[in-house]
Amino acid sequence: MKQLLILSGKGGTGKTTVAGAFIRLSEAKAYADCDVDAPNLHLVTAQAREPKRTAYYGLPKAEIDADRCVRCGRCEEACRFQAISAAEFKVDPFACEGCGVCELVCPVLAISLKPAQAGKLMLYREGDRVFSTAELKMGSGTSGMLVTEVKKQMVEASQEGVQLAIVDGSPGIGCPVIASLSGVDMVLIVAEPSISGISDMDRIIKTAQRFRTKIGVCSNKYDTNLANTQKIESFCAERGLPFVGRIPFDSEAVKAVNRGQTVVDVPCSSGSAVREIFRETLKLLFPEGVGVSPGA
């Protein structure tokens, strides 16, 4: 099974819109949403049933046993994260980093680290199709590891013989992105023709190149800034990176997404452009030819 990961660097460039369309075009039997901080893919891939939910535990958090606590204040003094209030001797779970120093210094063993649920994994199944996603609880950290779990869940649940898995990646360039890159065969970067967008694209490309994955780049809303779109294409040419297409700004796209549809479900200019990009991407991902339908 080959994994195609869709990344953008900057948020709001159209990554999930493209991912949703690709899933529709390929009738993908395995797909995942790795943007665990703000998962959106389920909004454009109609799911008929409720998913299987599994709790995800992140960093343990400290808890003070009020009965044992003698209010000596050593924990509050030692905590580097201002997670313990001197007034109430309670641990603030949002500030607590699970370091264990309070547990170490407490003279009466009133503090212990307890597992804390940091989110939940969801697995949707319908026939032979699987969709893996997750949601990080507000204010939690450890999203890189949850991303790894989302991908693992998708791979483990997918059927034998599935050729293509589509993964909607996280924004940014940090750990969740790095975690989503692992084990991927190709990255499609959806670039935005703006100064910030180009800067982020540069960093994503550098990150993806360390994993030796194939990279393709497309430009979304290209007609909002032709000069910057040209910059993106030159950038790719200079580095020998395939530029697989341009998608015009299209208000029909917004309307389709707002109805929970993908841009290839309705006739529109962005939909036609995405179909072309899909064809080009498949050529790169399966140079030997493929049994996956490129869509009508």
Partner: protein, 121 residues
């Protein structure tokens, strides 16, 4: 000498795991005594620094060579400083890799990806 391999199952037919730091188990093989052993990887549940913890387990168990498909920069540092040599594993089973190692057909792993360290905040 002892060789370590990250694996998906506790069986000699197991495939080499795609990950080093978060492989479910480690397989140890002593080339002299021909004894083998499986160890649960305690790093699997780690928030971050899994590669380091996994590398520590390899070192603590006396392995002098690691056969792995990929390895993070932090794990590589622990292994290198502890004089454990890292080879690029072949896709396939434990047996295929051990045979390749014995026949000196394996190359050294040369590309280490940035640490997938826990991005806590």
């Amino acid at each position: 000498m002892k060789i370590a391999i990250p694996v998906d199952d506790k069986s000699l037919n197991s495939a080499v795991s795609q990950s080093f730091g978060r492989a479910p188990y480690f397989f140890f093989y002593d080339t002299e005594t021909e004894e083998s052993d499986f160890l649960d990887n305690g790093a699997v549940a780690s928030q971050g620094g899994a590669g380091i913890k996994a590398a520590q387990a390899i070192v603590d168990n006396g392995a002098k060579a690691l056969l792995a498909p990929r390895c993070g920069g932090n794990a590589e540092e622990v292994l290198r400083r502890s004089e454990v040599v890292i080879y690029q594993s072949l896709p396939g089973t434990i047996k295929e890799n051990l045979d390749a190692f014995a026949a000196q057909r394996l190359v050294l792993l040369s590309d280490f990806h940035p640490g997938l360290h826990g991005h806590e905040k």
